[in-house]
């Protein structure tokens, strides 16, 4: 596997400069000659609008810090910080429970489930998609165009069409690996386990294949040929040259899949039954149903708001860390959400 002769190219070879996300126009900063007066008006306008856009976040955080009676009082700064569901509020006070210690809604467990499934799924799909994308970008093989056409076609397919048979596959798997099944010795995979949430990520995803292939095609072929001459196997060439150079695009795929996993409600709804297995979106829905006005809840909106903050904040952090990847990914792909 390892190269016989040391390659002249480090992981950050000269090709890195040429390898940009294709499709992202390198904007030549236009100096629009907006007169200062007009510019001031525009800035005032945009400030007003951004207050409008940010307001729901501020409202949400503030509501999560209030006691039940004050949730809808429209103060942005809570009147009473002492009785909220974050920490361990005054004992004996109304609602003296903390969000993370409510037994019927194990928020901390859901959070960790979401984190590990998100990270694992994103890593798997990024790696497998990169492998496939590299094959489509570098190798010439019979049937390449037809197969790539199939990849693109699957991007158009609504998930609803395959959703039911896929469920039946997992259902069948839980029959044979569950208790009393023929392969009961194996770990139980199937319905009501978390495998259906991340195992499909092993098999690459059309959208990321497309994205990464575009990127790999931007890397000069000479780099790969040079590595081959140096004695690299195809796989080590992929690992040592292609992957390091494609880092920006790999990060895009990774953060997009993280986001997709963090957002996903429908697959957990279909596959999970036990509360402890839930991911955060399904957990949040459970909190809403349990504490909201319907379903016998007592309108404990402060708990619901605290749970919502737990779901929102990690994405904001991820976005802060990988802002460029998010924005470049959206301009390249235009995928909504």
């Amino acid at each position: 596997m390892t190269a016989g002769a040391p390659s002249q190219l480090g992981p950050t070879g000269t090709g890195a400069a040429t390898a940009r996300l294709p499709g992202v126009a390198v904007p030549e900063r236009r100096r629009l000659r907006t007169p200062p007066f007009k510019r001031a008006i525009f800035i005032a306008l945009i400030l007003g609008l951004s207050v409008l856009f940010i307001y729901p976040f501020v409202w949400l955080i503030s509501a999560s810090l209030k006691p039940q009676a004050d949730v809808f009082d429209n103060r942005l700064i809570p009147r009473d910080f002492a009785n909220n569901y974050w920490g361990d509020p005054t004992p004996g006070a109304p609602g003296d429970e903390a969000l993370f210690s409510l037994p019927e809604v194990p928020v901390a467990t859901w959070f960790m489930n979401s984190v590990w499934i998100g990270v694992l799924g994103a890593l798997l799909v990024t790696f497998s998609s990169a492998l496939v994308a590299f094959a489509f970008a570098y190798f010439r093989f019979p049937g390449r165009n037809v197969l790539f056409g199939l990849v693109l076609a699957t991007m158009m397919l609504p998930g609803a069409v395959t959703m039911i048979p896929e469920y039946l596959i997992w259902n069948e798997l839980s029959q044979i690996t569950g208790e009393g099944g023929r392969f009961a010795a194996l770990p139980d995979i199937g319905v009501n386990t978390q495998y259906p949430l991340w195992v499909p990520n092993l098999f690459a995803s059309a959208f990321y294949i497309f994205l990464l292939r575009q990127f790999f095609m931007g890397i000069p072929r000479d780099l790969f040929d040079a590595a081959r001459i140096d004695g690299d196997s195809y796989f080590s060439m992929f690992r040592r040259i292609a992957l390091p150079l494609a880092k920006p695009a790999l990060i895009v795929a990774f953060v997009f899949e993280m986001q997709a996993k963090w957002f996903d409600l429908i697959r957990p709804l279909i596959y999970l039954r036990d509360t402890d297995l839930f991911t955060l979106p399904l957990g949040l829905k459970t909190i809403l149903d349990q504490f909201g006005t319907g379903g016998g809840g007592e309108s404990d909106w402060q708990i619901i708001m605290a749970g919502t903050v737990v779901a929102v904040v990690p994405m904001v952090i991820l976005f802060a860390l990988f802002q460029r990847a998010f924005l470049e990914g959206i301009s390249t792909s235009g995928r909504k959400g």
């Binding site: 940010i54 190798f139 499909p200 429908i266 929102v312």
Partner: protein, 328 residues
């Protein structure tokens, strides 16, 4: 590579076939197949196979008894499809989905374009505000569904408080319970997540060559004419693209609406028919009532509708799209 050399000589059909087959003797070909194996497996097991199976199930009575093995699966022909015509909830769900999409798509495009145009004109500060306007886009859809309930609450919600502060409005609409206001509130909430579309427009606007505006201004074109005859044609590929993508996303709407109005009941009221989107009804048929055969037929109807709408959109708007490259 050897194959390119062969291709370069443009051989006639018999030799071309032989050249094609000869590539199976090359190691490179087999490595390539090994590399695409993950996708190929997934395609067969999770896409192509399920598609065929889904079509088969749509012709059967497959349901909860069949899953449990208590009853045989029976072939029922097109019965599920004719049932679609008799099910009053199908037209209702389609109507809801189309009304919502019809409100959400143009509103999102207009707001996104307005924001992007302003951001373009404020220089460096634009980058900061771009981040601000993108934030709603990274809010989980379940959280958005919850926010709809609290922000648009008829009696306490902040939206109505703001509206009632206006001198001519006494009581704002009961957004979350009044059937005629549910879809507008859903659409307004999706416009909040305008950030992705806005980022695409911003990139497109930055790509419009400045000299076109200068030439237009020199010819005495008004700001409106410059927008209509320079900006719009030049960014039309981006408009076209987002139009298609947003429409597909609108038709697939599930999570926000399901969170807010379905499940164990979170508004205290009955599940409102006005919020029944097609994807939600499909989900319920499949995974709550376990009418798998019927749901598979629903899925195929949905597939045909989404394809037809997309095709119509492409055909209907294609002539307005101007590709710069084609003119050079």
């Amino acid at each position: 590579m050897a194959t390119t050399a062969v291709n370069a000589t443009r051989p006639g059909p018999p030799t071309r076939a032989r050249a094609w087959f000869s590539r199976f003797r090359e190691r490179e070909t087999w490595f390539a197949y090994a590399f695409i194996l993950p996708w190929a497996f997934g395609f067969v097991v999770l896409t192509a196979g399920p598609m065929i199976a889904s079509f088969y199930f749509s012709l059967t009575n497959y349901g909860v008894e069949q899953i449990g093995g208590f009853a045989e699966t029976e072939y029922v022909g097109a019965e599920n499809y004719s049932r679609l015509l008799d099910d009053g909830k199908i037209p209702l769900a389609l109507k809801n989905t189309f009304i919502y999409t019809g409100m959400m798509v143009p509103a999102t495009m207009v707001v996104a374009l307005a924001l992007a145009s302003i951001l373009l004109r404020i220089g460096r500060a634009g980058d900061f505000f771009r981040t601000v306007f993108y934030l709603p886009q990274i809010t989980p859809p379940v959280a958005v569904g919850i926010l709809i309930l609290v922000l648009f609450n008829g009696s306490y919600g902040v939206v109505n408080r703001a509206l009632e502060a206006l001198p001519f409005i006494e009581q704002g609409p009961f957004w979350t319970t009044d059937p005629s206001w549910i879809k507008p509130s859903l659409a307004i909430m999706s416009v909040w997540a305008v950030g992705g579309t806005m980022v695409i427009y911003l990139a497109a606007l930055r790509g419009v060559p400045q000299h076109l505006y200068e030439a237009a201004a020199m010819d005495g074109a008004s700001a409106f004419r410059r927008f209509k005859d320079v900006t719009l044609p030049m960014i039309s590929p981006a408009l076209f693209f987002t139009f298609i993508i947003l429409t597909i996303a609108g038709l697939n709407t599930f999570t926000e609406v399901y969170t807010a109005y379905f499940g164990a009941g979170s508004t205290g009221a009955e599940e409102p028919e006005a919020a029944l989107m097609y994807a939600i009804y499909l989900f319920r048929q499949a995974f709550q009532f376990f009418n798998m055969g019927y749901a598979a037929a629903m899925a195929w109807l949905f597939f045909v509708i989404v394809m037809a709408v997309t095709l119509l959109n492409i055909l209907g708007t294609r002539r307005f799209v101007f590709y710069q490259g084609a003119q050079r």
